[in-house]
């Protein structure tokens, strides 16, 4: 406050003594009032986020440690009993194995394909906009539509298998989602179709951020394309890769729509945590069992999102 007043008097030499002191004072007062209005206007959103996100998360965690076995609420505390029961459950164990397979398959495909396509599009391609539009459009298509169409594309006695046979690629034939062990990997192919364009867009934005001088300097330096990528481009794009890992990891934890279309499959081979949670809670009314899986999904998500948001906060602080 003293600083601004001295500035004011310095810039208006010979001004009346009353006006320069009272005007900033009044303005400061009004600003504080406007800041108060801002906080009041923000308040409904703060309350909504506090209840619908934070309180609800806490409530779900709470339901996972009470009895509540049917539709009627029963808040008898049972500790970790529901969790221990869930860990014994065969379907849950398969879900966890599916999550590992799904995350591995989905993340690898999205990152490899996304990076490959972005690098190719960055090589001064004619009609780049058309390719880009085609690669990204599946992201505008819903998970249900993706599931419905890929269920037919991967129909074992038809679809892709038939196409492979026609083109003499019979060795590529697969049981797809009907495979009792690796059915979940077929789900990742459909999910990658939908999401890899997004990852490509992230990498393309990252590549556009690397200066041409840097790439050209490396080229003149005699760096061949491979070492240019290995030593300069891939390390520079590490933040993009981190983003892609977080987004595809989140996608792996919450995948629901495609398994909902395919069903749980033979021996739960296309089941997912989110679908299991849905069936337990809303079809079998096993609230606490559903809450265990829901809580686990939140905890898994927190492990990914925590470091991500922390890194963003560091970036912003710099």
């Amino acid at each position: 406050m003293p600083v601004s007043r001295s500035k004011e008097t310095a810039t208006t030499p010979g001004g009346g003594s009353a006006a320069p002191t009272s005007a900033p004072h009044r303005r400061a007062f009004k600003l504080r009032g406007d800041l108060a209005i801002a906080i009041v206007v923000l308040m409904p959103s703060i309350v909504a986020v506090a209840i619908f996100i934070y309180f609800f998360i806490g409530y779900t965690l709470y339901v996972s440690v009470v009895k509540w076995p049917t539709l009627l609420p029963d808040y008898t505390f049972v500790g970790l009993q529901n969790w221990l029961n869930m860990f014994q459950d065969m379907r849950f164990q398969i879900d966890m194995r599916n999550l590992v397979l799904y995350a591995g398959g989905f993340m690898t495909q999205c990152i490899v394909i996304g990076f490959l396509l972005a690098s190719l599009l960055d090589a001064k391609i004619k009609s780049e906009a058309i390719f880009r539009t085609i690669f990204i459009f599946p992201f505008a298509v819903s998970g249900i539509v993706t599931g419905v169409v890929w269920r037919w594309l991967m129909f074992p006695s038809s679809g892709l298998n038939q196409l492979f046979e026609t083109f003499g690629l019979g060795f590529l034939k697969s049981k797809w989602y009907t495979d009792p062990t690796f059915g979940i990997l077929a789900v990742t192919i459909a999910a990658t179709w939908q999401f890899s364009g997004y990852v490509m867009a992230l990498y393309l934005a990252g590549l556009r951020g690397i200066s041409h001088e840097l790439k050209e300097a490396a080229a003149i330096d005699g760096a061949n394309t491979w070492s240019l990528y290995r030593h300069i481009i891939i390390p520079l794009l590490a933040p993009v890769t981190f983003t892609a890992v977080v987004l595809t990891g989140m996608g792996s934890i919450r995948v629901f729509d495609i398994p909902a279309v395919l069903g749980t499959g033979a021996a739960f081979s296309t089941d997912a945590l989110a679908f299991h949670m849905f069936q337990l809670t809303f079809q079998s009314n096993k609230m606490s069992a559903g809450a265990v899986i829901a809580s686990l999904m939140i905890i898994l998500a927190a492990f990914l999102v925590g470091p991500y948001l922390a890194s963003l906060q560091l970036e912003e602080a710099q």
Binding site: S45, A48, L120, I136, A140, V141, V145, A274, L309
Partner: protein, 275 residues
């Protein structure tokens, strides 16, 4: 050198075209299957072109999903508009009215973007029942508006952060207060931000399945993606109906994407927090 260059350029185009074909294949399949009659649809003739063309599949599917298509419009349009409006106010506050702890508060908002919805479904249903919103389209709109708060605040905050503070200060000196600055300074120049947010929210809400499934149990009130999923479950061998229904459900968001791709791309980057 030139020969090598020609070879490598051809290889690049070959890979790009192959991937383009891969990405377009499902749409092609939906189209050729949807235009077939039931007699033409068979497992062995999946890739055959439809001849003669028939709109039976589409008219049958439309009869089954048109009401839900309408529901989706009644959900998506208001929800996108309301959440864009809320987001513009919140983004304005987070960008231009910083108070102690506002950045931390903003981070706490962002957590909501990454929340797996399963994590809050149980209390959500209980709360909606208590509020009398369960089972209604208004309830679905309400839920989408609440869970749109983080992403819309983020998108508008990034946009408004790029507006010079001098502009705000000048408006303050002219006597504009909190609402005046929003109404007369920021709103007139925020068309691009509204376009990005409206398109993003439209796409996300239209494509939602889980919230629609949980909040409205009555299939007649359900959004279109719930209906398409049910269609695929009932018409198991009538692939022409399934594919037509899926294509109809996908059409609005694809049209919006093709017409306004530039804004969609910006939404993609903002959605990853890297805008």
């Amino acid at each position: 050198m030139t020969f090598q260059r020609l070879w490598s350029r051809s290889a690049i185009y070959f890979v790009l075209i192959a991937f383009a074909a891969w990405y377009l294949m499902p749409i092609y399949l939906m189209l050729i299957t949807g235009l077939k009659t039931y007699d033409q649809v068979s497992i062995t003739n999946m890739w055959a072109l439809p001849f003669p063309l028939s709109l039976d599949g589409f008219s049958q599917a439309w009869g089954k999903v048109s009401a839900n298509f309408g529901n989706s419009l009644m959900i998506t349009v208001p929800a996108a508009v309301i959440s864009a409006f809320i987001g513009s106010i919140n983004g304005y506050i987070f960008a231009k009215w910083k108070f102690r702890g506002s950045n931390t508060l903003f981070m706490l908002f962002l957590v909501g973007m990454f929340l797996p919805y399963q994590g809050i479904l149980i209390p959500l249903v209980q709360t909606l029942m208590a509020l009398g919103l369960y089972g209604s389209i208004v309830g679905v709109i309400f839920v989408h508006c609440i869970f749109g708060i983080p992403i819309t605040a983020l998108m508008f905050r990034s946009y408004f952060a790029g507006i010079p503070n001098e502009l705000i200060d000048a408006a303050k000196i002219d006597g504009c207060g909190f609402f005046g600055i929003y109404r007369w300074v920021l709103l007139p120049i925020s068309f691009p931000a509204f376009a990005v947010v409206l398109i993003w929210q439209f796409t996300m809400i239209w494509n939602d399945y889980l919230i629609g499934l949980i909040v409205v149990s009555n299939p007649r009130l359900a959004p279109v993606n719930v209906a398409v999923k049910n269609l695929a479950g009932t018409y198991t061998t009538q692939w022409q109906v399934q594919m037509s229904g899926a294509l109809l459900a996908a059409l609005p968001t694809i049209v919006v994407y093709l017409a306004l791709g530039k804004f969609f791309m910006r939404g993609l980057l903002a959605g990853s927090l890297k805008g």
